[in-house]
């Protein structure tokens, strides 16, 4: 009756993971660890003094950044405002241009497969190019200034926004749309009365989310000459004027936090 394995007092706990999984996980663990060690030695190969030396050095160098020079705040406020305006304009244009793209990239609206696949592939390629690389190319094309920066932000955020919105469109309730189509509504009527009311809150929320991303991207565009506060930051770093640079970094930090807070609040109210 009292089987050794079944009794409540048995010390043998059945393993929660099968042996095969354990072997797999161990193997993957060692492969990941191996690549990690290789990456660490590769990235440190040009570094004088190695890891320990760098950490020691770090604190002495970081001290140069402090205290930040608060006197420059009036001088950097203008470029900061300009940066925010860049993000506003870029987000607006991206939000307008994204509508046709998002509809073309939604499987349930664009029923013609080749067009859907083409738009999707285009958006996927667009999203692989980092914002600053776009900015470098546009600065080469249009010269230094705000315009290449805005253009880079528009293209960059278009990829993200169109993908997110097309996914929202794909998840809508198709029944009202079918009902309209069967009672004789044309494509535009179906989109206007059936689709838009369903996706509008998410659309607004995603546009605000992309605005947050654009603010964060726009503050660094100036590093490659595409306007905004990054330009000033780059100059100050070039002059080794670290207290001024630190003040700019702190201002960027504060602006990003404030805008993110406001945007999150609005998005919470929307959904």
């Amino acid at each position: 009756m009292t089987n050794e394995n079944n009794s409540l007092t048995s010390k043998k706990v059945p393993p929660i993971y099968p042996a095969k999984t354990k072997v797999q996980v161990t193997l993957i663990f060692f492969v990941v660890l191996g690549i990690y060690i290789f990456s660490m030695s590769w990235t440190q190969r040009q570094m004088a003094g190695g890891f320990g030396g760098a950490l020691g050095n770090m604190f002495t160098v970081i001290e140069k950044f402090f205290p930040p020079n608060t006197a420059v705040i009036s001088a950097i406020w203008g470029p900061m405002v300009e940066t925010i305006q860049m993000a506003i304009i870029a987000t607006t244009f991206a939000a307008i241009l994204t509508v046709p793209l998002a509809i073309l990239a939604a499987e349930n609206i664009t029923t013609w497969k080749p067009l859907y696949i083409l738009t999707r592939t285009f958006l996927n390629i667009l999203r692989t190019i980092p914002d600053l690389v776009l900015a470098v190319i546009f600065v080469g094309l249009f010269g230094i200034g705000l315009f290449p920066g805005i253009l880079a932000l528009v293209i960059f955020s278009l990829g993200i926004l169109a993908k997110l919105i097309s996914e929202t469109i794909e998840s809508v309730d198709m029944h009202p749309l079918e009902a309209m189509r069967s009672s004789g509504g044309n494509v535009f009527q179906v989109i206007w009365y059936g689709l838009i009311p369903q996706v509008l809150p998410q659309y607004t929320s995603l546009v605000l989310y992309v605005f947050e991303i654009n603010i964060r991207a726009s503050v660094v565009l100036g590093l490659v000459g595409a306007g905004g506060i990054g330009l000033i930051l780059n100059q100050q770093l070039g002059f080794y004027n670290y207290p001024n640079a630190m003040m700019i970094i702190i201002l960027i930090f504060v602006v990003v936090i404030v805008i993110e807070y406001i945007s999150t609040r609005i998005r919470e109210a929307l959904l």
């Binding site: 990941v32 040009q46 970081i62 200034g145 315009f147 964060r216 670290y242 936090i257």
Partner: protein, 266 residues
Amino acid sequence: MENYSLPPKPKNSMYKNIRNIVIAILVIAMYVWTFVSIDIDWGRAIERAINNFNRVIPRLFNPDWSATGDVAWSMLETVLIAFAGSLMAAVIAVPLSFLAARNMMGGIVISTIGKWVLSAVRAFPDIILAILFVVAVGPNAFAGVLAIAIGSTGMLGKMFAEIIESIDMNVVEAMEASGANKIQILFYGVLPQITPEFLSYAIYRFEVDIRASSILGIVGAGGIGTMIIFASNNRNWNEMGTILLAIIIVVTIIDFASARIRRKIV
């Protein structure tokens, strides 16, 4: 004959009407302010574009194949920076996320402080962190690793904390009731619930970090960004084409592989 009419439209309350008008005024004011005060030199931009178009665009689509070797090595470095950085971040983020999760350590105070710290870290753009680390440890790839690691810790810590907060606490309570100690609860009650999602987010962050690390070289933190800045300074748009192609291919492959792995894990 009976008259069929539509049901009356719901009346908007006074409060809602006023709120909508205020919002509309604020939005319009923001746009007027933006478009009036922004200063774009259209003439110069268009003139430049006409002059440069033939020098830039056709060459961009005609990659310089002789640079393939250099580009491949730089791209490898970019991937290694992202890998080391995101793995470091994933490890650092675990204890932080336990501190920031409301249902684990301590009370609401520690959790709130933890979340504030993680949000603060997240607010720094990666490239700003890279600038700080380049000054601190010198212009090399390791500065990039540190920038990626710190930048990703903020996002991963926040995500991990949200995952921990969403676990099934009944399991934990049952274990507590039957006398399991903290370590046992952690290993048998909490970890099995969170591991797949933790891994999934860490791998997703690796995808994001590949994109981030490909531009860190612009401020001297290693990887393919170094080549981007050289190619742009030398107006070598053929080489830029090769670099762009390399970024597109590598990012696409890693996105695809990571999506496959994540689907398998979760």
